[in-house]
Amino acid sequence: MPTTRNWTDKNIEEIVGTLLRVGVSLSAFVVSIGAAIYLARHGREPANYRVFHGEPSDLRSLSGIVREAFHFRGRGIIQLGLLLLIATPVARVAFSIWGFAEEHDRLYMIFTGIVLIVLLYSLLGSGSAF
């Protein structure tokens, strides 16, 4: 079977393209809002990234990030935007499972499922993220 690109494949690619574009734009928008707040409040403070001390726990976990963002803290809003960015490829993979299901391609549904599990493990299981 040399040709795998049929109507559904094209259709899936169309939607995947839109999904990626929307995810990245939304993330950049949220990050920019956070940046404006952060720079307005802290722009004149000295910058120091020479010494590594890790982020506070509120900027490491989903619940912490959402809490910080809802308090209109600039760094929390930026982090929320970055989280949206990380979620974009994850959403793309999740959508692909549906796409392969539409094509009755069970083998690739399994492959895509494995990738999704690895991604979710990274986000949920690797630390205190959620």
């Binding site: 004149r44 000295p46 990234y49 690895v118 690797s126």
Partner: protein, 279 residues
């Protein structure tokens, strides 16, 4: 330097990295970490966290354009992503146990290799290879719009070798916070004999997913600083989007040479800093 000045300078530097990276096709991600550590004196762990996030942005932005042109092969990409995401997780876990000096040395070697690879002439692609049974069973063979017009078909070769190389590419990506597009293209173009145009676009498609696998680990470990990742991500994204727009018309041969020299010099500097303990 105050935070506002720092943010503007980092954003400008990242913009330039993104622009040159997309114009030359060598990727801006590889120069971000050296830029941040060598010129802005940022701790390499913060630099890797910020770079990783921006890699997702540029890859997803570019992939959005490529998937619609019909070059990238979603099946090849998805199958190989099993290897790259597991590799990325392993790399991200390893990063916690490796000293910053060793990270700098590995980074330096990787930069020198990228510079070498970008200068090496590509062997002419073999066409009309016989179908490989495993690739056929995995339904990887496909076609793409060729320059001569019409669709050109291709048969994928040596799937296990490509899969193993992809694991390595993923581990490097998770360890160093880069897209490792060069290794991905090597695995697909050289090992699996996938046409170059299909390799590069599919690689780009995979980079975002690979980076997302390790980004979760970095975020929960506290390596992603919003104040640093913000100018890096916005700068690289703007630069690479502009680069993709002018790419069609630009003469990139000389630019590619200059950028590969820059990558080589940065590689030597990272190596030197790692060996002398300046990082």
């Amino acid at each position: 330097m105050n935070i506002l000045e720092f943010t503007i300078l980092v954003a400008a530097g990242s913009f330039l990295a993104g622009l040159l990276g997309s114009l030359t096709g060598l990727g801006g991600g590889v120069v971000l970490v050296p830029l941040l550590t060598l010129f802005f004196k940022v701790d390499i762990r913060y630099a890797i966290g910020a770079s990783l996030v921006s890699v997702i942005a540029t890859s997803s932005g570019a992939a959005a354009a490529y998937v619609r042109e019909g070059f990238s092969n979603i099946r090849i990409g998805m199958f190989l992503e099993i290897a790259t995401t597991v590799g990325a997780l392993v790399g991200a876990f390893l990063a916690a146990f490796i000293s910053t000096k060793a990270l700098a040395i590995i980074f330096g070697v990787m930069l020198l290799y990228s510079a070498y690879l970008s200068r090496k002439p590509r062997p002419r692609a073999q066409r009309n290879l016989p179908p490989d049974p495993l690739a056929t069973r995995l339904r990887m063979n496909g076609d793409f719009p060729s320059e001569e017009g019409g669709m050109r078909q291709y048969n994928v070769q040596r799937v296990p070798l490509g899969f193993s190389l992809m694991f390595g590419a993923g581990a490097l990506s998770g360890l160093l916070g880069i897209g490792s597009g060069a290794v991905k293209v090597l695995a697909m173009d050289q090992a699996m004999k996938i046409p170059f145009k299909v390799s590069t676009t599919t690689s780009n498609f995979m980079i975002g997913v690979t980076a997302a696998a390790s980004a979760g680990v970095y975020l929960s470990r506290g390596y992603v600083d919003p104040g640093l990742a913000m100018p890096v991500m916005l700068g690289v994204l703007a630069g690479s989007m502009l680069g993709a727009r002018i790419l069609v018309k630009a003469e990139t041969k000389a630019l590619r040479l200059v950028f590969s020299i820059v990558i080589g010099v940065l590689g030597l500097q990272m190596l030197y800093k790692g060996l002398t303990g300046g990082i």
